[in-house]
């Protein structure tokens, strides 16, 4: 079952829309389970999914705590004197935010199942201007490299004698900011070199461009797209109504 990348894109958009509209942890949990089932169908196993979501754990925890504290509610769990810190409503609100993030991130994993070239091709055949599709796709391709570089700079900082575990929070933020210097600089240079290389290969030299391959929407694609849109529409209507 080889789906056109555009079908997958539609699915991701549908799931994300539902994630943004649903507002209770219960609903979002159901959505998350459906997303996971979808990922299993596309041959993702739990280990890969967990590995992909691992970097977001810290962010999710942070969001959970912040949201819980700043969402007022009546049924107080924890209070400091007269000030109520955390209520049940707050915890639920925190869970909502985290689950929403989980759903969207997991759904986005579908983007890793097709090549950047097919992605561009698909968008272009739907009349998205080539340059934009190209830019988005190239950016997506270079993101993991970006991440590797950040890791390298972090290693360099530590090897220079900075024990990150012993650095207090405030200073840690300053330290992370330092990371950006070399990474941004290098990537700007890289982008420039890439642009030059592209220019040397006649990029945008002509208003029209040939495409060696054609992506054709198969029947299964139409089915998937229609089904996704329909189901999403129905679910949204029921939820709002």
């Amino acid at each position: 079952m080889l789906l056109d990348p555009r079908s997958k894109m539609i699915m991701v958009i549908c799931i994300s829309s539902l994630a943004l509209i649903y507002n209770t942890p219960a609903r979002l949990l159901q959505l998350l389970l459906v997303t996971l089932v979808l990922l299993f169908i596309f041959s993702f196993n739990l280990r890969v999914i967990a590995g992909y979501l691992k970097p977001f754990i810290f962010l999710m925890f942070f969001l959970f705590v912040v949201q819980s504290i700043f969402s007022p509610g009546d049924r107080v769990i924890l209070s400091l004197g007269p000030v109520s810190l955390i209520s049940i409503e707050g915890v639920l609100a925190g869970a909502t935010v985290v689950l929403r993030l989980l759903v969207i991130t997991a759904a986005a994993m579908l983007f890793t199942t097709f090549s950047s070239r097919d992605f561009i091709l698909g968008l272009v055949q739907w009349k998205v201007p080539y340059e934009i599709a190209f830019m988005v796709s190239t950016a997506l391709r270079f993101l993991p490299l970006f991440r590797d570089e950040l890791k390298n700079v972090l290693t360099a900082i530590q090897l220079r004698g900075v024990d990150l575990k012993k650095v207090p929070w405030g200073k840690k933020m300053v330290m992370y900011r330092r990371l950006t210097f070399p990474v941004v600089y290098r990537n700007m240079l890289k982008a420039e070199q890439l642009a030059i290389a592209m220019e040397a290969r006649a990029f945008r030299a002509y208003p029209q461009r040939t495409y060696l391959r054609q992506l054709n929407l198969q029947r299964v694609d139409y089915v998937v797209i229609l089904l996704s849109l329909l189901v999403t529409f129905i679910l949204i209507m029921r939820y709002i109504g």
């Binding site: 090549s115 950047s116 070239r117 190239t138 391709r141 890289k190 070199q193 890439l194 030059i196 290389a197 592209m198 220019e199 040397a200 290969r201 006649a202 990029f203 945008r204 030299a205 002509y206 029209q208 461009r209 040939t210 495409y211 060696l212």
Partner: protein
């Protein structure tokens, strides 16, 4: 075809705020024929890279002219044609390769030229063949060795069917095997496809097989001639360069009166001579 790239009184200056303009290239006059294999050498700030970028119009001279087969690089209307005629390959293959499949990477430039799909396919097949990458056409570029990646970069440019191929330090990130592969591919391209190769390098052994070596020093053409002559010239050392080992061996033997062919500068040539 009797084409050539000509630099006429080409000067390139860079202006930095608060200081006098720095001249990267100074009144350079040069002519390169459409089937020459030229090696361009010089120390780091000698102007090599600037000159390379002038050859296909990536940068324009501050004064003077650069003509490619008679077309002026300053003429915007000719930009497309000049870019097609003069292909460029850069130092770092990772900053040139953008597609996840070899075949598609090669097709990129041909597609940009808006050729018919059949023509694109034909050129891709040809480019892969002459770069020795036909077996790897469905592979992912990240899985290739450094030498293979650079050959891919060459193939990706060949597909435009240029008349000249300029390579800016293409071997500096490659190990010995990679360098050997790339240079052999370039030699084949020069001999069999009649493609002019202009290769910038800082390794003298690499430019020794060229038919002509241009030495740049402080923004001017310091030496220009066949390798053996250039390596033997006293000005060569003045430019801060040392001849490759085989050339030094030849010169040493000549000085001691041995009857050796004075044009020998590469290992292959020496072996051939000794085996006779």
């Amino acid at each position: 075809m009797d084409g050539r790239i000509e630099l006429i009184d080409a000067t390139k200056e860079y202006k930095h705020a608060g200081s006098p303009p720095v001249s990267a290239l100074n009144c350079v006059n040069l002519s390169i024929r459409q089937d020459e294999f030229v090696g361009m050498v010089g120390l780091n700030a000698s102007g090599k890279t600037t000159l390379a970028r002038l050859l296909n119009g990536l940068i324009l001279p501050s004064r003077g002219k650069v003509l490619v087969n008679g077309l002026d690089t300053a003429d915007l209307a000719q930009k497309k044609e000049i870019r097609r005629l003069v292909g460029m390959v850069f130092q770092n293959p990772d900053n040139q390769i953008i597609n996840p499949i070899v075949e598609e990477e090669v097709a990129f430039a041909a597609e940009n030229l808006n050729l018919s799909p059949a023509e694109v396919r034909r050129r891709v097949d040809w480019a892969l063949e002459v770069s020795g990458l036909a077996d790897l056409r469905h592979h992912a570029p990240q899985m290739l060795s450094g030498g293979q990646k650079q050959r891919l970069a060459v193939a990706a440019v060949l597909v435009m069917q240029p008349s000249y191929l300029v390579l800016d330090e293409p071997t500096s990130m490659l190990d010995e095997d990679g360098r050997y592969e790339l240079i052999k591919t370039l030699q084949d391209l020069n001999r069999h496809q009649r493609l002019s190769i202009i290769m910038i390098s800082h390794r003298m052994e690499e430019v020794a097989p060229a038919e002509r070596i241009i030495v740049l020093h402080q923004g001017t053409v310091y030496l220009d001639g066949p390798p053996a002559e250039v390596f033997r010239s006293p000005r060569f050392a003045l430019a801060g360069l040392k001849p490759p080992p085989i050339a030094r061996l030849t010169n040493s033997l000549l000085r001691q009166g041995h009857p050796i062919d004075d044009r020998i500068v590469t290992l292959e040539q020496m072996v051939e001579f000794l085996c006779r």
